[in-house]
């Protein structure tokens, strides 16, 4: 019976072919480490955010007079409303944590390189959509930090030459963040996830075309590829279990860890909080904004600090595979970059001025220098490595890669 049903469907829809292509016959490098688990986790979090968000929207009221109360209604009166809300608010932070790790893995192992540029760029679009969605979602509880965060960030667009004020007015729908802003942010916060889902599908289609990268950085021979299912479904589900334990630790025992205390006070346009800070995942970029005293310059630098990731396939001129694994200099720079981002995040959380400003400027210079000097030191590093003789493990890998060899020989 079930076989007949599947045959019936297969004649009309490529169900079995799809399952084969995407799961049971999808070749995956067997040497993937747990760092390759985070794409799956991001997909899980996208679903969690959409589902919990739909239930929150059933009880939430996007109105400046009702929004804060409706969140408290969810927290106190709706059955398990507190759980749904804490899943959603903790989920937002977890989403960024997972995405940052996913990006760091890509940078470390050089997974952005040919032929995976489109994956990296669709990921870049996903990051921007995620940031937009998180920023608009943060306004909805209508707390002090929601309001003032939105007020500060929307006013940044005022730095646009000539039409700055008009853009800010157009974004807010009012001269200040108000009812019009709250309503449109709610509508857009519900809309953007659909764009994210669409972009994720593109991301996955590209993945299923170029296949996963792997720690060695070169395409493995067929014998070293194993089907995604059951091997990586089993591995990813175990990883999901570990993730969920940590995640639920926050949801049940420290749910307000990621929520600013000031956001438990209703928004008051007449009282500016002494210290406005964005959510932790925006802190490094916020620090870069503040490192440049000029408003327009700051906004441009902040935008570039996010967009510059897209240039990685062009900036990295080294042809040594395996990312940081076989590239000692790149590895050092990678760790410097990670520390630098952490420093920027700390600086972004502090009140501006004095030493903090000087550290901020230095960290911002390092941030951009890492990218802008990459074309030079990556090429120099490759020459140095080749002159020294590649490590035997790497040479063996290179010799085993049939696709890479002809290209390399023509270049030498």
């Amino acid at each position: 019976m079930s076989q007949r049903l599947i045959t019936w469907i297969d004649q009309r829809f490529p169900l079995t072919a799809f399952i084969k292509h995407a799961l049971t016959h999808y070749p995956t490098p067997r040497n993937l480490s747990y760092w390759w688990n985070f794409g799956f986790l991001a997909g899980f979090l996208l679903l969690l955010q959409i589902i919990s968000g739909v239930f929150l929207a059933m009880h939430y009221k996007p109105d400046v007079d009702l929004a804060f109360d409706s969140v408290q209604h969810i927290m106190r009166e709706v059955n398990y409303g507190w759980l749904i809300r804490y899943l959603h608010s903790t989920g937002a932070s977890a989403f960024f944590a997972v995405i940052f790790i996913h990006m760091a893995r890509t940078l470390y192992y050089g997974s952005y390189r040919a032929p995976r540029e489109l994956m990296w760029w669709s990921g870049q679009v996903l990051l921007i959509l995620l940031m937009a969605s998180a920023f608009m979602g943060y306004l909805l509880p209508w707390g002090q930090m929601s309001f003032w965060g939105a007020q500060v960030i929307t006013s940044l667009f005022g730095a646009t030459p000539l039409i700055g004020d008009e853009i800010v007015l157009w974004l807010r729908g009012d001269f200040v963040v108000g009812d019009a802003t709250l309503n449109r942010f709610f509508a857009l916060h519900y809309l953007v996830p659909f764009f994210i889902v669409g972009m994720v599908l593109i991301h996955l289609m590209a993945l299923h075309h170029v296949k996963s990268s792997n720690p060695s950085g070169i395409n493995l021979a067929d014998k070293d590829n194993i089907p995604f299912h059951p091997y990586f479904t089993a591995k990813d589900l175990f990883g999901l279990g570990v993730f969920l334990i940590i995640f639920c630790g926050f949801v049940f025992f420290a749910p307000e860890f990621f929520i600013e205390a000031a956001n438990n006070t209703p928004a008051n346009p007449l009282r500016t909080p002494p210290h406005i800070v964005p959510e932790w995942y925006f802190l490094p970029f916020y620090a870069i904004l503040r490192a440049i005293p000029d408003a327009l310059g700051g906004v441009v630098a902040m935008t570039l600090s996010i967009l510059i990731f897209a240039a990685m396939p062009f900036l990295d001129r080294s042809r040594i595979p395996g990312g940081a694994r076989f590239r000692p200099l790149y590895r050092v720079v990678f760790y410097i970059f990670v520390v630098d981002v952490a420093v920027l995040a700390y600086v972004g959380s502090q009140p501006p001025g004095g030493v903090i400003f000087q550290i901020d400027v230095a960290a911002t210079v390092i941030y951009f220098a890492v990218f802008l000097t990459l074309p030079f030191y990556s090429r120099w590093e490759e020459r140095w490595l080749r002159a020294r003789g590649l490590p035997p493990a790497l040479q063996a890998l290179l010799d085993s890669d049939t696709e890479l060899r002809p290209r390399r020989e023509t270049r030498q």
Binding site: Y86, L240, F252
Partner: protein, 208 residues
């Protein structure tokens, strides 16, 4: 490696939250009896000017008050509203006294902030009542801390402690339910993850 960065960021964020060294250390007494006494303090003292509007009197039944006790405080179905109308308080104090429902979450340090504020009143040289934590505060010294001697203060400190504990409960009345559900959830997930690990090992054992 970003994980380490993340942990660093989180620790930094936590450190700013706890940098409130102006706050007194207090061992919050959240026993049911203390919460009930705190509720009495808050409804009889604080409610003269402040509201606790996200609580209804019926919610106090969850603290094991008897129905009669709660009904003597107020109507079961009404919210804990201030006895003084907002306009009158605004006239008297310059602004409407803040609602206390979420105060324990809305200030860095939470209940410690409330405790420190209540026990921070003093009489300055001009005879005016002021507050160490909140200089220039308009709120009167509701517990009478500034005029109390050390034995009286010991009792008042307990009263402030219980009021802070009650307001913490008011800000997060689902905390007990959340934590107990949390233990079950984590235990379940730990078991599930252990089994998933065994599944993963068994599946991968087919590879040689």
């Amino acid at each position: 490696m970003k994980l380490r960065a993340l942990i660093c960021v989180l620790l930094c964020a936590a450190s700013t939250a706890w940098a409130e060294n102006a706050l007194k250390d207090v061992d919050l007494d959240s026993s049911p009896a203390a919460l009930r006494r705190g509720a009495v303090t808050v409804t009889s003292r604080c409610l003269s000017c402040h509201s606790v509007k996200y609580l209804h009197y019926r919610d106090l039944l969850k603290l094991d008050f008897s129905r009669e006790e709660v009904m003597s405080m107020g109507n079961l179905e009404s919210a804990l509203l201030a006895l003084t109308p907002a306009e009158v308080s605004e006239q008297a104090y310059g602004r409407v006294p803040p609602d206390l429902s979420l105060l324990a979450k809305a200030r860095e340090g939470g209940p410690r902030y409330i405790y420190t504020l209540l026990t921070g009143f003093y009489q300055d040289q001009t005879g005016e009542i002021n507050n160490h934590l909140y200089p220039g505060i308009r709120m009167p010294d509701i517990l009478g801390w500034s005029g109390a001697d050390s034995t009286q203060r010991a009792a008042l400190a307990i009263q402030a402690n219980e009021a802070a504990a009650f307001l913490m409960w008011a800000a997060d009345p689902r905390a007990d339910e959340r934590k107990s559900l949390g233990y079950y959830t984590i235990a379940y997930l730990a078991l599930l993850t252990g089994l998933l690990y065994l599944v993963k090992r068994k599946v991968w054992a087919r590879l040689k």
